[in-house]
Homo-oligomer: 248 residues x 2
Amino acid sequence: MPECEHLPRPPRLADTLSRSLQDWVRDRRLAEGDRLPTEKQLCEHFGVSRAVVREAIARLQADGYVETRQGLGAFVAVGAGVSRFRIDRADGVTRGDGLREVFELRQLMESGIAELAAARRSESDLSEMRMLLGRMEEALVERQQASELDDAFHLAIAAATRNPLLVRFMEFMGAQIQSSRVPTWDDEGHVRGLAAAAHDEHQAMYRAIADGDVMAARLAAAGHLQAAAERLGLAPGEGRSGSGRVGR
Amino acid sequence: MPECEHLPRPPRLADTLSRSLQDWVRDRRLAEGDRLPTEKQLCEHFGVSRAVVREAIARLQADGYVETRQGLGAFVAVGAGVSRFRIDRADGVTRGDGLREVFELRQLMESGIAELAAARRSESDLSEMRMLLGRMEEALVERQQASELDDAFHLAIAAATRNPLLVRFMEFMGAQIQSSRVPTWDDEGHVRGLAAAAHDEHQAMYRAIADGDVMAARLAAAGHLQAAAERLGLAPGEGRSGSGRVGR
DNA sequence: GCTTATCTGCTTGTCTGACAACCTGTGCGC
DNA sequence: GCGCACAGGTTGTCAGACAAGCAGATAAGC
């Protein structure tokens, strides 16, 4: 069998219902602060039992769209929708335009992160990076898979910024890109020299960060991400440069 | 009354339970892909009814921590925790270190966004920005509150990148910072000349973007955000520069 | 022996009805 | 007018039931 293929499962009622309610908010049929219909009304309106309605509302609560108060009702949360920023697999992150958009976000973030890292890195941050670079070099010689090391290297840079938010962002990014990773580090990638190129770019990033040269760090990171995007088949050499124009 | 004060409400059972289960995952008592105990077992273990257990699991599902399959059980989602990136009011975003971290994230993003906008802006993007700048100038003369215009201006820049993810990020940021906004545009801000300074910075950003000068756009945005951070009392002039060192 | 169909037990999905806890507004007594 | 108890409505929780889907064991057919 080629790959685990997820066929579309029959949608659950609570799921459908919560989506409908979310649409009510998006369509401004319910404004911020408005009270939702009572559970009983929703039951009758949608023809489902109260248990289903309650689960749907529990989902919305978890998403921050509504707040409920016993004896009073459920209310559309103030700032519903913008009270949290979220990127989600469901947004089509792993393919097509969604992937390109996320990757662009990563390019922005990572150049900034490299810049901050160059300004704030401690000696122990640097030795962590050196260690990872060494292990990646070993993997390069022995033609091994090394994408975990790749992730760890980028994570180490984020850690050097001393900003846990940025670390969390890189963790997320690693998980996302991993699921759509191009063969940079595997056998095919080695054959085409991609792994060696990526390794060179990593070393350039390390040198700039070690030197504390914020501008060089930014450029090295931007260049690395631009090259990675091209290896992924995104943003092929055509002039849609953005960061790239700066990176080269 | 001074301000809406949220007193701590008695926690709901489903809420407590979902937190407990989340801790199980964090503490590695449940690994990715593991099956959760059955609903009946959870009922007995925690001494609650099945309705509560189901609501708790519905919350976790909404958060992407578990997936359930009828007839099979509930499973810890692969990539639980990193399958989505989320920033949340609850993370202490509106005060103290959390605010500083979020603001730093915004600095990174916004300089990158300005850069992309300079590369991709269309004529209609520019006229939108000009319109907003004009209205801000009016507000400046008439000493009016103009923070919505401020948000709209930054949003217009994000829109010029043609990347909806970046627009969503700026929407989120606007909502966050608004709730902790310093008096830049109100009467006190005018007195201290803060509004005029912000307006100058905005104009510099516009000019760079209109010229298509990616580097100048980056620097203008970095400078604006750095100045805004100082107006907010964050990152006071002490050398913790990062972007700042580049921005000036 | 191997494949295929059926059965059985378990688990989640949904429904129903009930009671407790909580909030708001009304009307009563003072 | 003021405070208080009460009623009605709403969410929170519980208990029990049946339907739908799944995995593994068992039986039937070749």
